[in-house]
Symmetry: C2
């Protein structure tokens, strides 16, 4: 009986995913870009102060809550920078991608231009939407976070981090684009290195910031489509070389 | 003696303006665009709830405080839509520009692409920076407002209104662009008609919205340079005709 219930649940999930994918394709059909549906994950970091009951995540069931490493003791080791969890893992930069894929089940997409379709934008803060993006020979981590910087006023923050060093990050420019109902919002910047903390990028506000009202204007049935493009920035790389 | 003091004040103002203009030209020198320095004006509308002592405006001295017209009784008449003041004036659309220029001393600039340099961004909310922009045979009103939508958390809102009807407004697209320190933020939308209320556009959040931290990232010594471009939107005009 339990087996049939689980099967039915899986079929419902597939139908829901298919519907989200169809919606995304409809929005970005002209661009012909790869669309990736990204489901939200409630952040365990904030579980002690916020009610996590509204959101059930498979990852939450797998990973035990643990303490976050504030500093890396060995300078050659990188702590797990996945913003979803307070994860005790640390390792070399080269194995961060496989750790994020295997332990945190974060998907990785190929292509210079993709569409990130974040579902269920109405879920209460704090919530994260995360994906890895592989292009131009490097891997990037896109983080969309719903957070209450000021109590009672949730905002959306989107940023891109390079899974590499700050010097490598200076060679790239990323663009996030929202486009709906004759409105367009574009944010372009140099990605930060994953060695920097995503939390500080967001608290500094050095990223794409959306109020709830703007997010609603760009959303379609509770899903927000963000076009992502990464390019090499020759100007930045020459500055880095100086 | 009073005459000499006023003359000295005027000379100081000119030096300040010249300095601001030089800064703006430095920021946008490559683009070769017309730079307009826009000084802030404290909103009289909010004078009853906020302290207006921090900002002295010549316009405030000239115009007596008065009640705002909530509705237009004669459909052919437009109330004064200048967001600076609760002004009792009403008149036909054709004379709104001359009213704004003569009574409220709002400057008007020519050109498809200009740079709006808002000075003294640190001033407390509520503060407005306003200019008129003439291009493509029409006049537009650009409003940048610093407002505390949530108490203690001032935000900046920028929008463009057409001094014309909503049908005419549908024929245009405006773009606001911030560009500094390898970061770029662009907002593109159809301008609203001046017949709609600028307050409701801002309270709906249907405009470029900046947190204080983002505004600081894009500011240079307390001045924020916003590149403005207006184009005709054929797609929108064909939609309007349908």
């Amino acid at each position: 009986m339990l087996f049939f219930t689980q099967c039915f649940g899986a079929v419902l999930d597939l139908i829901h995913l298919r519907f989200q994918h169809y919606k995304a394709k409809r929005v970005f059909s002209a661009a012909g870009q790869l669309v990736c549906v990204v489901n939200p994950t409630h952040s365990l970091k904030y579980a002690t102060t916020h009610c996590a009951a509204a959101q059930a995540s498979t990852e939450q069931d797998i990973l035990p809550p643990c303490h976050h490493h504030e500093a890396v003791h060995d300078p050659q080791l990188v702590p797990c920078t996945c913003p979803l969890f307070s994860c005790p893992w640390e390792g070399h930069l080269e194995v961060v991608v496989s750790h994020l894929r295997q332990t945190h089940r974060i998907n990785i997409l190929q292509g210079a231009e993709i569409v990130f379709l974040a579902t269920d934008m109405h879920l209460p803060a704090p919530t994260d939407w995360i994906i890895m993006h592989s292009c131009l020979g490097h891997q990037f981590l896109l983080v969309l976070r719903k957070q209450e910087k000021y109590e009672g006023h949730p905002q959306f923050f989107a940023t891109m981090m390079l899974i590499g060093t700050p010097t490598q990050a200076n060679n790239f420019t990323y663009r996030l684009e929202l486009n709906r109902n004759q409105r367009r919002l574009k944010w372009e910047a140099t990605p930060r290195s994953i060695l920097e903390c995503v939390d500080s990028v967001i608290s500094d506000g050095d990223c794409l910031v959306l109020n709830t009202s703007l997010a609603q204007l760009f959303s379609d049935n509770g899903s927000l489509a963000i076009g992502i493009a990464i390019t090499t920035s020759k100007a930045h790389s020459s500055e880095a070389e100086m």
